[in-house]
């Protein structure tokens, strides 16, 4: 691999317990800047958990214990004194189900700005428009910014969630099965959008859809029962995996 490779996130020797259950076992992973990294594996393998480690969303669950190191641009995000709110604004998240607030389209996108204390109306207007354009939603909603976000079709809701995230200007975007509630056409649109976003942002995506991982990601990690079995360039994972278990999974012989 080339020397110019720049990692935004480095996970080393990460263990995570939910109470007595160990959900992640000594996981190592590097996320390269402005690339798409996909996490694949069967349900319950820990890929969503790993995703939520990266912006400390697991902190909200009682009884979670984490050891190891997660470096974001060289700084351990689990070090004492880290501003978790700033971290989460920097490492944003798109969830499995589109989950706009029951507010207007406008208020959804402006939410993060209000939280961040941005009060200048002109500034907010500019950022809201830029974010909606960035999520390819502007032309769909520009005439109904004051309508409830819940009136939008599901795929537009999901892109609204992306716009809401872009408004807080994150560096990394985590996506937790962002297409699982969408039909194939809407899925294709989100995938296209991801390929556009990755020119500016670093993306980590959890997906159950292996074709999706193969189509859009630069790197893939195959996880099984809390372990990172194999992590490599996507082309290699899908053509010449080193581990037999990875081979079984991607060729559909799993289980």
């Amino acid at each position: 691999m080339s020397a110019a490779k720049e990692n935004v996130i480095t996970v080393s020797n990460l263990d995570l317990w939910y109470g007595a259950f160990q959900a992640l076992i000594s996981v190592n992973m590097a996320v390269e800047k402005q690339k798409i990294t996909a996490l694949i594996g069967p349900s319950g393998c820990g890929k969503s958990t790993l995703l939520r480690v990266l912006n400390r969303m697991n902190d909200l669950i009682p009884g979670v214990k984490i050891t190891g190191e997660v470096l974001l641009e060289g700084r351990n995000i689990y070090a004492p004194g880290v501003d978790v709110c700033a971290l989460r604004a920097n490492v944003g998240m798109v969830f499995q189900r589109p989950n706009p607030f029951p507010l207007s389209v406008w208020d959804n996108v402006a939410f993060g700005l209000k939280v961040a204390g941005q009060n200048s109306r002109a500034q907010v207007e500019e950022i809201v428009e830029r974010s909606l354009r960035g999520a390819w939603l502007w032309d769909n909603v520009k005439d109904k910014l004051d309508h409830s976000a819940l009136e939008l079709p599901l795929d537009q809701q999901q892109r609204l969630c992306v716009a809401r995230l872009l408004a807080v200007e994150p560096e990394v975007i985590l996506m937790d099965e962002p297409c699982s509630a969408l039909d194939p056409i809407a899925t294709a649109k989100i995938e296209e959008l991801m390929l556009e976003l990755v020119k500016q942002y670093t993306i980590v995506i959890v997906t159950h859809n292996m074709q999706q991982a193969a189509r859009i990601s630069n790197y893939s990690g195959y996880m099984l029962l809390g372990e990172m079995i194999e992590f490599d360039e996507t082309s290699r994972i899908f053509t010449s995996p080193k581990d037999k278990r990875t081979d079984d999974y991607i060729s559909g012989r799993y289980g």
Binding site: N55, M57, L60, P62, C85, A86, R88, A89, N90, G92, M93, F95, R97, N99, F101, P102, L103, S104, F111, G112, K114, V115, A116, D146, H147, S148, L150, C161, R164, L165, V168
Partner: protein, 279 residues
């Protein structure tokens, strides 16, 4: 002998519909009876003039004022405390033995007869703290009385806010406090308002706790340290002492209408609020 399902179905419908009708009929009968007896007395004069001769003649204006001020004061004290407690219990603590004890405590508090609150208010606020029979003593006592209702309804309303809203808010960099203020409370508001309305309803109709703490004065209160009389207490006094049955019914009629109007206003406000949030 087994009754065929067709008939059990019919019987069930008849019994259930009968129960509903009976409930409605009782409600309508009470309201109709009181309004029928009371409305002839009610006039502009009756509403806005002072009582004379202990309420035998004249109007009910001071008690109208008392019935507005006392619940307002009670709500002003109980709402921040109650909603604050509910937020703390749901958002800031995990389910532990301590929160269970607190919840059990509020449930017990809700079951205590109002006369006990009255007695406590009399001993503590009126006598010990020397607030005397006053709006303040009455307001504090009623606030304690309705606190459990407000805590529990707010708690339920806050719990009903989908967890995903909180998750999104946190994921966008909001603190817990910002999440509470910008996401949780706005979405829980209709439920919280319902609890507050229940509280106001209890305050307006309360007699026992009010007589002991706010007193029976028929003057207009000039400050929170003045005694006042609410419509419910006025009604009770007029009827109990046999002063004037006509005026008692008149007061009752006004009381019923006032409660109806408050509820209507609350529903209207709530729907307007919801409509504005999700147009």
């Amino acid at each position: 002998m087994r009754i065929p399902p067709k008939y059990t179905q019919m019987i069930a419908v008849a019994v259930l519909a009968g129960a509903t009708l009976a409930t409605l009929a009782v409600l309508l009968f009470i309201i109709g009876y009181v309004l029928n007896k009371g409305l002839p007395v009610v006039s502009f004069q009756f509403l806005f003039s002072n009582p004379e001769d202990m309420g035998r003649a004249g109007g009910i204006f001071p008690t109208l004022v008392g019935s507005v001020l006392l619940p307002l004061l009670a709500i002003a004290i109980a709402m921040p405390l109650g909603v604050g407690t509910a937020v703390y219990l749901t958002e800031y603590t995990r389910e532990t033995r301590a929160t269970k004890v607190i919840r059990f405590g509020t449930d017990c508090l809700a079951g205590i007869p109002s006369i006990i609150f009255g007695l406590f208010g009399f001993i503590f606020f009126v006598v010990m703290l020397q607030f005397g029979w006053s709006l303040l003593s009455g307001g504090l006592t009623l606030a304690i009385m309705i606190l459990p209702t407000i805590i529990r309804t707010s708690e339920e309303a806050i719990r009903a806010v989908p967890h995903s809203y909180r998750e999104v808010s946190f994921s966008l960099g909001a603190t817990r406090w910002e999440t509470v203020m910008k996401v949780v409370l706005p979405n829980a508001l209709p439920g919280i308002v319902t609890g507050v309305m229940l509280g106001i309803g209890r305050c307006i109709s309360e007699t026992a706790a009010v007589i002991f703490t706010a007193g029976l004065a028929l003057r207009l209160p000039r400050s929170v340290f003045d005694s006042t009389r609410t419509m419910a207490v006025h009604f009770y006094t007029l009827a109990r002492e046999g002063i004037s049955n006509e005026n008692a019914y008149g007061t009752a009629a006004v009381l019923i209408i006032a409660v109806l109007l408050t509820n209507l206003a609350a529903y209207w406000l709530m729907h307007r609020f919801i409509a504005r949030r999700t147009k």
